[in-house]
Point group: C2
Chain length 553, copies 2
């Protein structure tokens, strides 16, 4: 190989470019890709390189995964975390006292538990869906410049230049050289100019996209430091398959049961642990002795015997409670996930909040609809409105829970103190968006459907064959608008008449809209009618034919 | 190709030879194969040739499929038949009157519905499992002789000679020649002598194995004739997705909703339909005009409009209510399925009863255990004892239901008249085997567990992680004996003491049995303890360690 001083420049276009292939980037990629949007994902890591802290899905994330059909394969490899139990130090003799166990998820939910698994399995499931959705991956590659060029007719105003390596025998040697020989200035550069309609920065807490856009992180400067370790234990401690919060000594220890017999343990570190720092203030992970963390865990769990049969991975990390000042630039470049909010692992929210951002941004209602031309670009405003408000609520909760843990309150109180409202936040299912150009005022409420909240779950029965579904099965993330008609009791003549009126009005509206070809309507819109009747009392043919395509709907 | 007068003779051995690759043959094959038994299946049809009348699984069959892990893939392609409705002719004006619909399965069950699908999809699922279990298929091939040679030390006393064709370019031409040119005497014969420990005849109502063993069919000589057709309908009849019994005119019409939008219709024929017969008394299917059957269906469903959009398959068949005098010969050759019992399609039992036979014979408790040497050959007696008794009960029910339909009783009465006991029979879950060397007297009953009945379903919770299971999940068809300990309420000191006693007695018994190596016990036996306590009240470590391997059990 003759190493020459050259730059290979390549130009291409894509609908949406995403930087970062963690849970949020992959979630956005698969959500957009399956709707036929052309997506290019740029990732710094090489194929198969693992990293990351995500350890599971909360109920709302499970609901979201279900809308994409991704939950079932993950359930087969994940571990349901159903119960929780707390331990605290007895004031009398200093022994660990076990609370009565309770359900881990205390709010009403279609999936009333958390589903834990490795980062690799979460990202693997998302990656498979992104691949199936024809998302283009360019990795390893990293952005070197980003510009938004708002020209009169520019269809692709976002220009990202990134540096990449194509993997062939020569370039692989080259890549190894760069990554493992610490010689940052290489002599051969492959630069690619990608012109896109939109860009998404899903590139983590130290987001290059966010810094390039000059967006500040707002919030506390103080950082908590946590240790985390994935292990196989040999122990007489009986609660390794529950979420377990041990409130002993100088801070909390959290046990998360994982797939197979694995266990994740989080432990909050303190100044007494002498966490080493680099000159720039960031943690110096290389100088930290992991055996100190393991020793600390053993002590915290006394008098139980704990033996580390196998330690798979461990690290320390610092968390500041911060939210980005803006979540987008000119409604052309957006940031999601850790790039726009960071918090502690105590609420188990990192990857979940991030995937929620990506679902909100990527799914039907935002970029997908705009790229397809089914909605006005102004609906893009709602991403920041909705998700920034949620990120702030999450951080309030994180602070509250941190205070309660640091002050060494009784563990049982910790479990209940945040109150139902906060549990609604961390389970993800209580997220409530404020009134906007997308959301009606909350005073409008139809049956269980509340404006600004996610579509409710609950059993429904298909009239033609009595097959049971969940109401949420009516709203898959298939890129279609949904029209759910709730006529009430159809044996009530008034309700029946109102439904007939609605049906003919609906048909007129469709005809006037210019969407009156059958194909166009079906492509954009799914229509379901959910009546409040015993299944024996009405026939599927009682629903007006304008609202029913066949016995399935 | 030069056709010569030659016989190519080949010898081989196998543990179990099965003749016939319908639902019962395939069920036995996969059940045995997955336990490591060497199974050879001989089938007259070529690969991919379809036939057969099976149209779905009843609740007990679903339970059985679940024990093999086969239900989930079939649920994805099958159609749940949940509701049923009956129509009858009004005495006033002759119009069809619809009854109030009800659940199709009225007995309590883990799977409270039927699951319909094509014969191809049922056999396809079984075939895939048989392939995964390394079952050897030889097809097309048919037996030409069967002998049981009981020698002193003969390990393979069953000799089956069959004629086969290996599929290569020449033999395929040859096979076409035989099958489509009606020249029965061919000049080249491939004969194979298969020596087996056991043989199973799963070769249908005209079973060659049964006739070779000189086993008579006992029962009525009169035959009902039925027509059956698989169609796509265009109709204003609203109940095509329910099991629907239309009692109008000269006999019943039964609608079975099927996968996709398909529908199966059974219609009973009468002498007025002039069903053609051959000289030997069997139906002459070639002389029957299928358009006559379609016309009859249209008339029976008036005043609804029915248009046959597509007719996929139709046939006529005769059913006699008969049971074989014996189900085995010398406990070396067994017959299963239609080979030992035939009845009408009204109870929807054909393939279900057949697969039940095969499960009983093939699974753990009979041949598998005997071949492995874990049980005495005398337990083979229980196959005929148990399944013949059940076949007779089934036929009694078939007669009762036939009478009720022929006498044109009101459809609503038909639906309920057979009573709960009969519905228990046809759902398959009420099967109750008499006291035998395998079955304790029924007076012995522990909680919901009744001697002679299938292990009950119901929710249970694993203590260590609160994961929900069904009690039947404890008894998969994995070839192991199951020890289920039911200690009652462990907060009751007496129950707790009894459990401790049992645990130490159990450990002593294992040690005395010579099964005391850990591997041997685990290979043959699964042990579970199911306590009657609220999950919050006890810990998994409260179960004696002799009965608990780890937190999973």
């Amino acid at each position: 190989m003759s190493s020459v001083n050259s730059t290979n420049l390549k130009y291409s276009i894509t609908d949406v470019v995403i930087v970062g292939a963690g849970p949020s980037g992959l979630m956005a990629a698969q959500a957009l890709g399956r709707l036929g949007i052309d997506v290019t994902l740029v990732e710094r890591r090489g194929l198969g390189e693992a990293y990351g802290n995500a350890d599971g899905l909360v109920p709302r994330t499970m609901e979201i995964w279900q809308t994409y059909g991704m939950l079932e394969p993950f359930e087969a490899i994940g571990n349901p975390m159903i119960g929780m139990v707390a331990y605290e130090v007895s004031k009398d003799d200093g022994a660990l006292v076990r609370s009565r166990p309770s359900k881990n998820v205390v709010v009403s939910s279609r999936f009333p538990y958390e589903l834990t698994g490795s980062t690799a399995s979460i990202e693997g499931t998302l990656k498979k869906n992104a691949d199936d959705a024809s998302v283009k991956f360019i990795q390893p590659a990293w952005p070197v410049s980003l510009d938004i060029i708002e020209e009169a007719d520019g269809e692709y105003p976002v220009k990202v230049v990134f540096q990449s390596f194509q993997f062939n025998a020569l370039s692989f040697v080259h890549w190894l050289h760069i990554n493992f020989c610490s010689c940052a200035n290489t002599q051969e550069r492959n630069l690619e100019v990608l012109s896109a309609k939109y860009a998404i920065g899903a590139d983590g807490a130290y987001s290059w996209i966010r810094r390039t856009l000059d967006i500040d992180m707002e919030g506390e400067q103080t950082e908590d430091v946590w240790g985390v370790v994935d292990v196989h234990l040999k122990t007489d401690f009986p609660d390794t398959r529950f979420k377990c919060i041990v409130q002993a000594g100088s801070g909390p220890l959290i046990i998360i049961p994982r797939e197979d017999d694995k266990i994740r343990i989080y432990i909050q570190m303190s100044t007494a642990d002498r966490i080493p720092r680099r000159e720039d203030g960031r943690l110096d992970k290389t100088a930290f002795k992991h055996s100190d963390m393991l020793e600390k865990i053993l002590l915290r769990l006394l008098p139980f015997n704990v033996e580390f049969e196998q330690v798979y991975w461990s690290t320390i990390f610092a968390t500041a409670q911060k939210v980005a000042a803006r979540f987008s630039s000119k409604n052309r470049v957006f940031i999601v996930g850790d790039a726009c909010h960071t918090h502690s692992p105590k609420a188990g929210q990192g990857a979940n909040a991030s995937m929620g951002d990506a679902h909100n941004l990527g799914r039907s209602k935002i970029i997908a609809y705009v790229v397809k031309g089914w909605a006005k670009p102004s609906i893009l405003d709602s991403y920041e409105e909705e998700r920034r408000q949620y990120a702030q609520a999450l951080i309030s909760f994180d602070k509250e829970i941190s205070t309660s843990l640091i002050e060494d309150r009784p563990a049982a109180e910790y479990r209940h103190s945040p109150g139902n409202a906060n549990w609604l936040v961390i389970s993800g299912i209580g997220i409530s968006y404020a009134t906007s150009n997308l959301t009606l005022p909350q005073t409008k409420q139809y049956d269980e459907v509340v404006a600004g909240e996610r579509f409710p779950f609950g059993p429904i029965v298909r009239l033609a064959d009595w097959r049971a579904f969940d109401a949420q099965d009516l709203v898959p993330s298939d890129g279609k608008f949904k029209l759910i008609v709730l006529p009430g009791n159809l044996q009530n003549p008034k309700s029946k008449a109102a439904l007939l009126d609605f049906a003919s009005g609906y048909q007129n509206a469709i005809q006037k809209s210019g969407m009156d070809t059958e194909d166009s309507t079906k492509t954009r819109l799914s229509t379901f009618t959910v009546a409040r009747n015993a299944k024996e009392d009405i026939l599927w043919t009682d629903i007006p034919s304008e609202l029913v395509e066949n016995w399935r709907s």
